[in-house]
């Protein structure tokens, strides 16, 4: 059993490394900027959804307010750069740390809430932040922050036409988020979370440590999400409250994990790889009609996938693997 487990862990690591390598080579074959853009977004959502999955999937605290951390990351980076000339790399780190601290501060009262009460609390907290930013003149309020384009540079993380630097950054971010999840699965925290899920009584005896591990999960999840937000600010070079803190964003971050398989290692990635190209392509190639057909197609697919595979699309693979093993 233990041997099996160890070999499965090793196999997962190898598969991930091979996938990352293949992805890293992809731009050699894909030169189309539009397709590269979809690839960047797919990796970004894979990373975001993986981060969300740590708190909501593994730890079981369903958050529909992660747009808060995404927006904080984006705003911290953009504001520090525009107001004080601080390079986005430091802004990124600061945004991550700030989000992690805020996540813990909010986790303290919120983790006592259960079920829907918790979910709605996460929604309204993000919504409060959205309204505050929308009205905060110093941070640009509704006008947002327009990061002017200058020369291509890794220092300011700005590239006028090339998508490749963004692509590789997003790839590294997705890989880190994956690796953190992989590592957590086999950590003390991972064991506690499983124990609590399998046996609610165990939660009582583990009370304090489990609470602390949830705080840890919230911090890690928020940190990674904020890095994603910083990345987005650099990538789009314009942010406003609605486009980085809107409620829709919180849902879009959760969606790949839910469709791919919530609380699973591969779910978020699989979900993002299917969902994001679908979102972009339906809008680009059907949305131009102005009749809402893209919404109908997109929405129907979400309904169909979530009903057909409640445990996530990743279950299609695990079953295929199990059968020959027996």
């Amino acid at each position: 059993m233990d041997k099996d487990f160890a070999s499965r862990r090793r196999r997962e690591l190898i598969v991930a490394a091979v996938l990352a390598l293949l992805a890293a080579l992809a731009p050699l074959f894909v030169k189309d900027v539009y397709v590269q853009n979809i690839m960047v977004l797919t990796l970004m959502y894979a990373a975001l959804s993986q981060s969300w999955n740590i708190l909501s999937g593994y730890c079981g605290q369903i958050s529909l307010g992660h747009a808060l951390y995404f927006g904080l990351g984006a705003y911290t980076t953009a504001l520090m750069f525009m107001k004080f000339g601080i390079l986005p790399w430091f802004g990124m780190l600061s945004g991550g740390v700030l989000s992690a601290l805020i996540a813990m501060a909010l986790g303290y009262p919120c983790f006592r809430l259960r079920g829907h009460y918790f979910v709605i609390a996460t929604i309204v907290i993000a919504e409060i932040a959205l309204l505050l930013f929308q009205n905060w003149d110093w941070a640009g309020a509704a006008l947002g922050i327009d990061i002017p384009i200058r020369r291509d540079s890794w220092l300011t993380f700005q590239f006028t036409r090339s998508k490749l630097p963004y692509f590789y950054f997003a790839l590294v971010l997705a890989a880190i988020a994956w690796f953190v999840t992989w590592w957590l699965e086999d950590s003390k925290w991972g064991y506690w979370w499983r124990a609590v899920k399998d046996n609610p009584e165990a939660a009582e005896s583990l009370g304090v440590v489990v609470f602390n591990s949830k705080m840890g999960a919230a911090a890690v999840s928020a940190f990674l999400t904020a890095i994603g937000g910083s990345f987005y600010a650099q990538f789009v070079s314009y942010i406003d409250p609605e486009s980085v803190m809107g409620f829709q964003f919180s849902l879009l971050m959760a969606l790949p994990a839910v469709l791919g398989g919530i609380g699973t290692l591969w779910g978020p990635l699989l979900g993002a790889v299917i969902l994001i190209p679908l979102t972009e392509l339906t809008r680009s190639y059907i949305g131009g009609s102005g009749r809402g057909v893209d919404l109908i197609v997109y929405g129907s697919l979400i309904v169909a996938i979530s009903l057909a595979r409640p445990q996530g699309l990743v279950s299609l693979f695990s079953r295929a693997k199990k059968v020959p093993a027996r």
Partner: protein
């Protein structure tokens, strides 16, 4: 079967004649990208815009006897009669999607120019992306003044921005004051978006410069479920003029809520948007007799320039609506862009940009009440005079500025 020499010759000459046509057919389309919200909460604007752009493309591509650039003859003569092909894209009011769609239009659809976008937030990223690819962007209907002040070389806007619009309102107030009307206090009512914020900033600045007192400055959340609290504050302030900057949804709710709370503003001077939409007047037109809205277009112009009426009919046949402030600017946006491409005799971004920079078009060959179209070094046309329209007897009439006004304004607003 005997092939005669004559037949062979005929065939050859036919092939020769067909050859260039076939070859030209390939190069005979000029693709222009059109980016609008085609789904989501402002889809209505995008769908109407599609009709306006199609009308403009129709006039360019077919032969019409209008005194409008490119109307006579088919296609763009500067490019061998090439036809304009529109490629529509949906940005869903999301700056990131606007950017992605711009890239797609430029790199995949090979558009040589882009027109858009309605939402100013999306115009920021679309124009920035166009700058990166050195493709000209014409902002047809964005009114945020910050847009042209970002040092972009490929950004152009023919129509007025909020500061010009607001200035027209205050010029009008000043004139009324000279004529003995009492206008002292103003109430601003604006949504919490770029549009609302920019509009309110311009109005606040002008008010303090010209000695008007702002007694209420109400910023509200766009698409709020209720405006009761907001209207109460407006009512308590009871300013001489209420100045809303609101889109259709909130404008409808504002007017209904004011009626329900027994508040009849002394005067309303609207920053266009919802107040130029047919839907608002269908819903609450009876409560809006005498409301004044700024605009950049007026159907009255048809009396002086018959083509305005004829083109409006063409648009109406497609959309079932008259031209309004947005659709007229969108229509004109495509004509202006195509006219520049025609003069550039090229689909190269830099050449089109040079042609746009060199634009100097007298106002009377447009459908707008503008003096002329000539872009300054920031790409803004400062000769696009805004007009003020008053809603009287179920339609809009131009009441200012004097040179285009067709009737005197009714001030104060008739008390029902």
């Amino acid at each position: 079967m005997k092939i005669s020499r004559r037949n062979l010759l005929l065939g050859a000459s036919a092939a020769a004649a067909l050859g260039p046509i076939a070859a030209r057919a390939e190069a005979s389309e000029v693709a222009i990208g059109v980016i609008y919200p085609l789904s989501g909460s402002s889809a209505q604007i995008g769908v109407d815009a599609q009709k306006a752009f199609e009308t403009a493309a129709d006039i360019i591509n077919k032969d019409y006897d209008f005194k409008l650039p490119l109307a006579k003859g088919e296609g763009l003569p500067g490019l061998g009669g090439a036809k304009v092909k529109l490629v529509f894209a949906d940005h869903q009011a999301d700056p990131q999607k606007g950017r992605a769609e711009t890239e797609r239009l430029i790199t995949q659809e090979k558009v040589c120019a882009i027109v858009g976008t309605y939402q100013s937030a999306v115009a920021v990223t679309v124009s920035q992306t166009c700058e990166r690819y050195q493709i000209p962007f014409l902002s047809a209907d964005n009114s945020s003044p910050s847009l042209h002040r970002r040092g972009l070389k490929f950004y152009f806007r023919a129509s007025p921005h909020d500061e010009m619009f607001s200035k027209a309102m205050f010029d009008f107030f000043d004139d009324l004051r000279k004529n003995g009307q009492k206008i002292e206090t103003l109430a601003l009512f604006h949504e919490d978006t770029i549009f609302g914020t920019d509009s309110a900033n311009a109005q606040t600045k002008l008010a303090s410069e010209r000695g008007y007192k702002i007694v209420a400055d109400i910023k509200y959340r766009a698409n709020s479920p209720s405006l009761t609290a907001e209207v109460q504050q407006l009512k308590a302030a009871d300013a001489d003029v209420l100045m809303p900057s609101s889109y259709t949804t909130d404008a409808i709710l504002l007017v209904k809520t004011m009626a329900e709370l027994g508040y009849k503003p002394k005067n309303i001077m609207a920053q266009d948007a919802g107040f130029s939409e047919k839907a608002l007047y269908d819903a609450v037109g009876d409560k809006l007799e005498g409301v004044i809205s700024r605009g950049s277009f007026s159907l009255d112009l048809a009396e002086k320039r018959p083509m305005v009426g004829l083109i409006n009919e063409m648009f109406k046949a497609r959309s079932g609506k008259d031209f309004n402030d947005y659709t007229s600017r969108q229509f004109m946006g495509l004509i202006l862009m195509a006219e520049a491409i025609n003069r550039a005799k090229s689909t190269d971004g830099d050449k089109i940009r040079e042609a746009l920079v060199a634009t100097d078009m007298p106002g009377d060959v447009t459908i707008m009440p503008w003096k002329r179209v000539k872009y300054d070094e920031m790409g803004q046309n400062n000769d696009a005079d805004p007009v003020l329209l008053q809603y009287l007897g179920g339609k809009f009439v131009t009441v200012a500025p004097a040179q285009v006004a067709v009737s005197e304004s009714v001030w104060p607003m008739p008390a029902k």
